[in-house]
């Protein structure tokens, strides 16, 4: 009696969530697959009564599209550069934090600070730091060139000023700025997770190593890293997923033109491509690109899980 009463109650409690999920999660999954398989699909054409061919032509088009390939290249490059760099740096910082006593909590707080910031707003700060052109005063063409704070800092070490993000800057200068910003932005979460993992490692392992007077480097590679491996795997997987969806950090630094002045779109990413196609009412192409993105994330996650299963000690 009570049980059957519960049954309809459970569905009643779940109903708001289920209704919203059906509209905004389940239907999009179905519809994205549908749109991706209708050649050159757009909602405007559909309301006009246009009959679309069925097939995988959208995918072929996207994969042969130079713009998309450029986005894919940028996304992959940023992933390959930022994921190892931020993971290794976060691991170093977490291990050092775990090895000190005074000021540990204070420093932990400092390292977590970038997490609560707004990626676009702080991207604008990085953009200002790398910027080499001040405001125009008087005429609309007269530009005042400053060195920019980053150029001043590297100048101390004898490096010549570099045009980082302004018109005429090189692709690799742009990528460097993005890598610096993305790593800065990614550190807090990784340090938080890795430090949490380190603090939960049983002290006995270290005490045993001490008795055997094991060298520090061996303790690190034979105790710390293996016992921390589930956390490292977690951090790497989420970093790859985030990396493939990179978008707002580029908007933060370069604005929604996704590139330096005079070369818009140069730094566009896969997510950026999806939004551009959507804005151009090419929903078929956008859907195909979104499914390709999903496939890449899925495959990379599976590879990561497979590798970490072999290398992880639970």
């Amino acid at each position: 009696m009570v049980e059957s009463k519960h049954k309809w109650k459970a569905w009643l409690y779940l109903s708001p969530a289920i209704v919203l999920l059906l509209i905004f999660t389940v239907w999009p999954i179905i519809n994205t697959i549908r749109m991706s398989l209708l050649v050159d699909y757009s909602t405007i054409k559909e309301t006009g009564g246009y009959a679309f061919d069925f097939g995988i032509k959208n995918f072929v088009r996207v994969l042969n599209y130079p713009k998309f390939l450029n986005c894919l290249k940028n996304t992959l490059l940023l992933c390959v550069l930022t994921v190892p760099l931020s993971t290794i740096l976060a691991l170093l910082i977490a291990v050092c934090l775990n090895a000190i006593k005074p000021l540990q909590r204070f420093l932990q707080t400092v390292f977590f600070l970038p997490y609560v910031t707004n990626s676009i707003a702080i991207g604008m700060v990085f953009s200002a730091m790398f910027n080499i052109i001040g405001n125009n005063i008087g005429s609309s063409t007269q530009l005042i060139t400053t060195a920019g704070i980053i150029n001043n800092i590297i100048g101390v070490f004898g490096v010549d000023p570099i045009n980082w993000i302004n018109a005429g800057s090189s692709y690799w200068a742009n990528i460097t700025v993005l890598v610096v910003y993305i790593v800065w932005d990614a550190l807090p979460f990784k340090i938080l997770v890795l430090l949490g993992g380190l603090q939960s490692i049983n002290r006995q392992y270290y005490d045993a190593a001490k008795v055997d007077s094991t060298p520090r480097s061996r303790v690190f590679t034979k105790i710390t890293v293996p016992l921390l491996s589930p956390m490292i795997a977690y951090v790497v997987i989420t970093a790859f997923i985030g990396g493939f969806k990179e978008y707002s950090s580029i908007v933060g630094i370069f604005g929604d033109g996704m590139g330096p002045a005079g070369d818009k779109g140069r730094l566009n990413t896969m997510v950026g491509f999806i939004y551009d196609s959507l804005a151009a009412s090419q929903e078929g192409l956008a859907s195909a690109a979104a499914l390709i993105l999903f496939a890449i994330i899925f495959v990379v996650t599976m590879i990561n899980l497979y590798v970490s299963k072999k290398k992880t000690h639970y």
């Binding site: 708001p16 239907w27 000190i100 400092v110 609309s140 938080l192 978008y247 959507l278 499914l291």
Partner: protein, 296 residues
Amino acid sequence: MTEHVSMQEKNLQQVSAHQRIVKVAVQVLLYAFLFLMALTVLFPFYWMLISSVKTLAEYQLQIPTFFPRKIVFFNYVEAFQTANLGRLFLNTLYVGVVSTLLSLVITVLSAFAFARLEFKGKNALFAALLATMMIPGELFTITNYITVDTFGWMETFTALIVPFLVSVFYIYLLRQNFMQIPNELYLAAKVDGTSDLKYLWKVMIPLALPTLISITILKMMGAWNSYIWPRLVANKPEMRLITNGLRNAFTDANTQQTNIPVQMAAVAIVSFPLFLVFIFLRKYIMKGVSRSGIKG
């Protein structure tokens, strides 16, 4: 014999002295590295603050000053007016509060059903929900954009609130929390004739309060930091949310030049509430974050 022993002692003392020196050196290196990294992490915030109180002329010096010669605050006034920050604040607050409240109600009810009630297909449904977490949000955005347009919600706050009310991750987080509360409490309440909702309100919610606070903070921060979706569906100046309004407000449409001190003042204004949240509610954020891997 005694000589031999004292030699050994001396050696031991030397070894321990040596070890102490190494230990101190390692500690010094650790602190040096950590302070260097901490300075790097903090530098952009410092730069934002000092740039926001510089005059434009001082900001444009060939060699930037590390501490402003003259501290001025008119950049803040200008930032507030140029970007219409007051309006952006109110919009963001409205969207944030409404979506958080509705989201909490939906999350609590769903988590309760999954944690306490028995019904057919419960586990399958829960697994299906978790599976959707793997799909990148962009895949939903395309259709949701069309759906919002079909519903006539373009350029309304409804479009900013409704599509994101259900978060599978929050349901999952709260369900785990609810499961830790002993079932005996629920059965006892049933025997006493307490209704589900009263039990939820009087027992479950107070016990799960830390998780609910985490969800509230993350949800509010989400509204504060969201950019892509608001720009797509509500881009009219009077509907904009703070991040969207901020990005393009300070670039001159004709010359593409930016008044950076004013821009930095605006960034500081936007960052300030986040810092307050961080200082007072850090532990809740860390708790939610370490399990999500999702920013904002």
